[in-house]
């Protein structure tokens, strides 16, 4: 006598899944408890990935805000490794003429401008505050993306004439004047009075986290002669013709500056070139490294969650020995019993994974709403978590299922 035909696998699996759902629903508390480890693990992973991606996006946005076609040459030696510090660093004294020379002699440079930066006390209307003061040319304003939301920014004429005019950032304007219109009002930088001619558009924060809107911009020559009283600038902004060319531009600028400042071959440079494209790449790489770390933590969390399900499945097989015996007597093959427990374990794991995704998304939404996290929901991580949970369920369900399938029907029926 041959065994009667069996229904196709897909249908049998579907019937099995429905049965398993009913059984899991019937054992609500045990189901929730056994999946809770996985829920916690996956939720943690989701939140970590969300935080990591959020941080990455913030940094990338800031770098982008400054422009990824920008070099910033600063008049400070590159940081030396310990042990070489003894060799006293000489600072290259950058002059406004360096910017003009770059523009004239480096074809890859689209624009170049000198700038001075100071952190100074400013006063107006009886209030005072400490802000970042930038002195730069109209080209410098353009390169740094400083434009007027109201009023105007200074022009070449005012630059040449060393006029005492200032463009204030929106945050500074609010600090000093509240809702009043600051245009035409007086602002003292140190003791020097300036006329406010414009309020700049909001620019957010820079990669270092400094608020670009709590700042004031004045003409470079005015700054050199009336505020800082030195003929040297702190930085040269050099704009390239695109992100792709930026490294070549950096090389050109280095060669040119070494020549102009007569730095011998092999001698250390006494200036630093900050390449926005490189910063972006570095930040990205750091974020990716963090992602790999997160994947490691994720794997660990999921394995811990899997152990919980494994333990509960083993208990479940013991508790349900009689049920297994009954099913065998009613015609279940060993493979049917195995399929039942594997299905149950993977459903449990998928439910845990999905629950973890839900909790993770909820926490991320709450964080975005209450703690001003950058809102990034990593759906790819969510999908990966659920898929990994399913595989995990199959993996940890295998041993308990094999145990269940091995039971002899007669002994199983006699149990408990």
């Amino acid at each position: 006598m041959t065994a009667p035909a069996r229904p196709p696998h897909a249908r049998r699996l579907w019937r099995q899944a429905r049965l398993s759902v009913r059984l899991l629903a019937a054992h609500r508390l045990r189901t929730v408890l056994s999946a809770s480890g996985l829920v916690a693990g996956v939720a943690t992973v989701m939140v970590m990935v969300a935080l990591g991606r959020g941080a990455e996006r913030r940094v990338v946005d800031r770098v982008r805000a400054l422009g990824t076609d920008l070099l910033v040459v600063t008049a400070a030696p590159a940081p030396r490794v310990a042990g070489r510090v003894r060799q006293v660093a000489t600072t290259t004294l950058l002059r406004p003429t360096d910017a003009q020379a770059i523009l004239d002699q480096v074809p890859r440079a689209r624009a170049a401008a000198p700038a001075v930066h100071r952190t100074l006390v400013v006063r107006a209307d009886g209030r005072n505050t400490t802000v970042a003061v930038t002195g730069t040319t109209p080209d410098g304003l353009r390169i740094r993306g400083i434009s007027a939301a109201r009023g105007r920014v200074h022009d070449e004429h005012e630059e040449r004439e060393r006029r005492r005019v200032a463009v204030v950032g929106p945050v500074l304007a609010a600090t000093l004047f509240g809702a009043d219109d600051p245009i035409g009002r007086e602002l003292r930088i140190g003791t020097t009075p300036f006329e406010i001619i414009g309020v700049s558009r909001p620019r957010g924060v820079d990669p270092g986290g400094a608020d670009l809107d709590n700042a004031v911009a004045i003409p470079l020559e005015t700054a050199l002669r009336r505020v800082v009283n030195v003929p040297y600038v702190d930085a040269l902004y050099v704009q390239g013709r695109g992100t792709a060319e930026l490294e070549a531009l950096e090389g050109d600028v280095r060669v040119m500056l070494r020549e102009r400042h007569r730095i011998r071959d092999g001698a250390p440079e006494a200036f630093t070139v900050q390449n926005q494209a490189v910063i972006l790449r570095t930040e990205r790489a750091a974020a990716r490294a963090l992602d790999r770390l997160t994947v490691g933590v994720a794997a660990l969390a999921v394995v811990v969650g899997g152990i919980g399900i494994f333990a509960v499945m083993l208990i479940s097989v013991r508790e349900r020995t009689r049920e297994i015996g009954l099913r065998r007597a009613l015609g279940a093959r060993r493979s049917d019993i195995r399929a039942q427990f594997v299905t149950e374990a993977s459903l449990l794991a998928v439910a845990g994974g999905a629950g973890g995704v839900a909790v993770g998304v909820l926490v991320t939404l709450l964080g975005a709403a209450l703690a001003s996290w950058t809102l990034v929901i990593p759906w790819s991580a969510a999908a990966a978590s659920v898929a990994a949970s399913a595989l995990l369920g199959i993996a940890v369900g295998t041993v308990p299922a094999a145990r269940a399938a091995r039971l002899e029907p007669i002994e199983a029926l006699r149990a408990g």
Partner: protein, 231 residues
């Protein structure tokens, strides 16, 4: 093919079963031979340790004989492998146990439908069949009750409905009244009697001579062999 009415449902010849536990061998069945005809209600009785439970397990394809042949519906099943025996159980056998063995968290209807999970049929009409089976045992009004909400007699009738859902050739009842009081036991026996009258083949194991007396025929096991056949 011969007329199916003429083929015995059960035909066993010289069944032997020995249990080995370490060096000790316990011979439980020492050559059992009998037939059960279609529509017969047969009781197997005997003292505890007489081998009647082992015989029941062998007949139920839950245990395998070491020697001898077992023809179920004319087919030799004595050497069938585990999967084949599972398939035969689901198609040809219905079990009723002393402890009912119902799923506590499932309703009567769900319990009766359980065997459908392991047969080839599409269970599209499964619920209707289960409903009909429960009606047949007089529990049409208890479909959504769980075992805990039913009396012992009702629970055993749910078990009978479950055993009959796949219309098996043979109903095997192992001490079906063992956990019932006298009144419920009598009702259950009446139910088995009426099933037999309707043409169902039933083999019932019991240690109770009074219960056994309700069958058409009584096989008495003694020390692993059939001692007598009483009408």
């Amino acid at each position: 093919m011969t007329d199916p009415g003429a083929t015995p449902v059960i035909s066993v010849r010289d069944l032997r079963r020995t249990y080995r536990k370490g060096p000790t061998e316990t011979v439980v069945l020492r050559g059992v031979t009998f037939d059960v005809r279609r529509g017969e209600f047969v009781a197997i009785t005997g003292a505890s340790g007489s081998g009647k439970s082992t015989l029941m397990n062998v007949l139920g394809l839950l245990d395998q004989p070491d020697a001898g042949t077992y023809l179920l519906d004319g087919a030799d099943v004595s050497r069938a492998d585990d999967d084949a025996r599972s398939a035969l159980r689901s198609r040809h056998l219905g079990f009723v146990f002393q402890q009912f063995h119902l799923m506590e968290r499932s309703t009567a209807l769900e319990n009766v439908m359980l065997p459908l999970l392991y047969v080839a049929d599409d269970p599209a009409d499964g619920e209707a069949r289960a409903h009909a089976a429960l009606n047949a045992v007089g529990l049409g009004h208890r479909l959504t009750h769980r075992p805990g909400e039913l009396s012992g007699g009702e629970q055993q009738r749910v078990a009978i409905a479950r055993a009959l859902i796949n219309d098996p050739s043979l109903l095997l009842a192992d001490e079906p009244t063992g956990n019932l009081d006298e009144r419920n036991g009598a009702e259950l026996l009446a139910l088995l009697r009426s099933l037999a009258s309707a043409g169902r083949t039933i083999v019932m194991v019991t240690h109770d001579a009074g219960v056994a007396a309700r069958a058409d025929r009584v096989l008495v096991m003694r020390d692993g062999q059939l001692a007598a056949t009483a009408r």
